[in-house]
Symmetry: C2
């Protein structure tokens, strides 16, 4: 299903030879219309990969005819030659599909600081174009994997229209956005400004609140393409909620497949004075290595939650803080609460609630534990 | 040597039974004058342990007669009872030594969220007082260890006067200050305002730039006590430099003994527009888990350095960034530089230079690699 669940889209995923192990590494997603409306959200990292710089320009027109994605190389920190390669890739797609290169978005993922093997990538575009299909969404999702152990897709179907998508991402997963590539498609008939509004609203509370390892990538890209092929223009709220659901589902799939993780940790901050405070506190907790180690060891170490809260500028009084871990309020009023031995941490999902007792706002950040497997994977894999 | 290297001080370190394993856990440092001038710097964590709240008040007078330190329990997040325990500890020291309780600083380190065993701690104060000696500095340094594998002391002797000190700290090591207790002593004859100025200047560029694991403690304390017993009042600059040297040496000892670490990483940011920019970039690099894993794997992964720089607000142009690892400029002008295979990473110390090409300011942050041993120690040890 994936990006071809919505009508008006074809896709393909092939092995172009970019990856030395011969796994699929090139995906193509084509919008066959009648509309070509699109919106995009990109990494806020100031060191941006060449394909991000290119695609940001493409999205300014609000029109995207095709997206070409490669794994096996991020094309980041590759200088003018890297940008030329991205440009050449877009031109190749444009020539092959008979579309305008200025409407071809490019996404890359993999090792930073290495040029792409263009002698393999460009012929791969032709191979992929020849395999474009209304059933190609899954193959496309497979072709963008790097250290992902599974491919990620999600679909929400409403009254006559659909939002679907695919995502990749397993490491360098942190806000603004997570290290990931995401392509969403819809056959709802909408303009690019509506797509943009719905996409930003959705990513703000989904992908932007996935923070597996605190490391922000140079390549993060989320695209939303509308073909309008359903002929239906849904109400904004209904459409925005469908986009949010797909983003939330894909974000959860990223967390569940994070490199080396053994726990998925839901950090819910409640009773904050402002939503910004809630997010700041949630992120501080989610990024605390000592806490992440404790969770790995199934140790309900609430002292590390408090020490993380204490590093923020959020409104709170230390003596009023409460913390629950998997439903047990182990910290009450800034001190010892219920018996920590009551906390059951055997399951993969761990739920931490931090009550700031300072207002009524809330935010949820998702993260993972810190494990020896994470260290092993990221000291052995150059990415 | 340690805190008794300077004239006018006695110290002791004993096993009071706070630690279940019977290791030394209580230290006493006494200033026998003629002066009792003192200065202190404390954690900027807003969740502060009871002894920090107490000692901050004590230091306001600029006078400290004695410091009592315990390992085996941080007395943090322990509510009103925890503060009463700190107060009772200071009163016990005051009674035993016949000094004013308002001049007794208290420091604690160990597990957060657990009350101290006062039935063992208070008798321990008497035992320690009975063993006070001009040669007790080393025993005091041993008694404040937690997960430290070695005790840390440092001494600088100048023309007739001395600055010496001890430190503990191995985990939750991050700025503002590192998770650590430090007591410095001098027999130079100086007022508390001069001590304060010299101590803040020293910690700003030493302990505050030690960032082993990004986790800021609730208990960090650095104290500087002057007995004036040398009768000598040195020039401020000479004294400040001696304090800085002792702080720098102790900070280095903390990094070398950081939990689970196999590498000591010197992150030097050069050509920054401002010192604040240099520190922000240095910290961002030092806290990047992916980079810390790569260094553990002896992988000169400069792409992770650039992606960390890109998350900051510092002044720089991505295309002008340069990065050297152990003397090899692996990244030039934001792209591929010298051959990364030339980088020799076999030794414990790793030197990363990040050239922002945006000015002439510089800062150095020290950190450690991220290892499976760190994960193991912090998922198994509740602290």
């Amino acid at each position: 299903m994936s990006v071809t669940a919505a009508k008006g889209f074809t896709a393909a995923g092939i092995a172009a030879g970019i990856k030395e192990n011969g796994n699929p590494d090139l995906a193509l997603v084509v919008n066959n219309g009648p509309r070509r409306a699109a919106a995009g959200v990109f990494t806020s990292n100031r060191v941006k990969a060449a394909p991000v710089l290119w695609s940001e320009q493409v999205l300014k027109s609000g029109e995207v005819s095709a997206v070409v994605l490669n794994s096996g190389g991020a094309n980041a920190c590759t200088g003018p030659k890297g940008f030329q390669d991205t440009h050449a890739t877009a031109e190749k797609v444009a020539d092959t599909l008979q579309v305008n290169a200025a409407e071809v978005a490019v996404c890359s993922t993999g090792l930073i600081g290495v040029l792409l093997p263009m002698d393999k990538l460009l012929p791969g575009v032709e191979t992929a174009a020849a395999q474009l299909s209304e059933h190609g969404g899954e193959k496309a999702a497979i072709a963008i994997k790097t250290t992902d152990t599974v491919h990620k897709t999600s679909v929400v179907t409403k009254d006559g229209w659909t939002v679907g998508g695919m995502a990749k991402g397993a490491g360098m997963l942190a806000p603004g956005l997570a290290t990931m590539l995401v392509v969403l498609t819809t056959d709802a008939a909408l303009d690019s400004d509506v797509l943009d509004k719905a996409l930003r609203a959705a990513t703000r509370t989904t992908f932007d609140r996935v923070d597996s390892d605190g490391c922000m990538s140079t390549n993060d890209t989320v695209l939303l393409l509308s073909s309008g092929a359903s002929g239906i223009t849904p109400e904004y709220e209904e459409f925005a909620e469908a986009v949010r659901q797909v983003c939330d589902d894909l974000g959860q799939q990223l967390i569940r497949d994070a490199e080396g993780a053994s726990k998925d940790i839901k950090v819910e901050v409640i009773n904050a004075a402002t939503e910004d405070d809630a997010v700041e506190v949630g992120r501080s907790i989610a990024r605390n290595n000592l806490l992440k180690c404790a969770i790995h060891g199934e140790d309900p170490n609430w002292g590390r939650v408090l020490s993380a809260i204490g590093t923020t500028k959020a409104a709170f009084e230390p003596d009023l803080l409460n913390v629950a871990i998997n439903g047990v309020w182990v910290c009450k009023n800034g001190g010892v609460g219920e018996d920590r031995d009551k906390v059951d941490m055997r399951y993969r999902e761990v739920h931490i609630v931090a009550d700031l007792a300072a207002g009524s706002e809330t935010a949820t950040i998702w993260t993972n534990d810190l494990t020896a497997d994470y260290v092993h994977e990221n000291s052995a894999y150059s990415s």
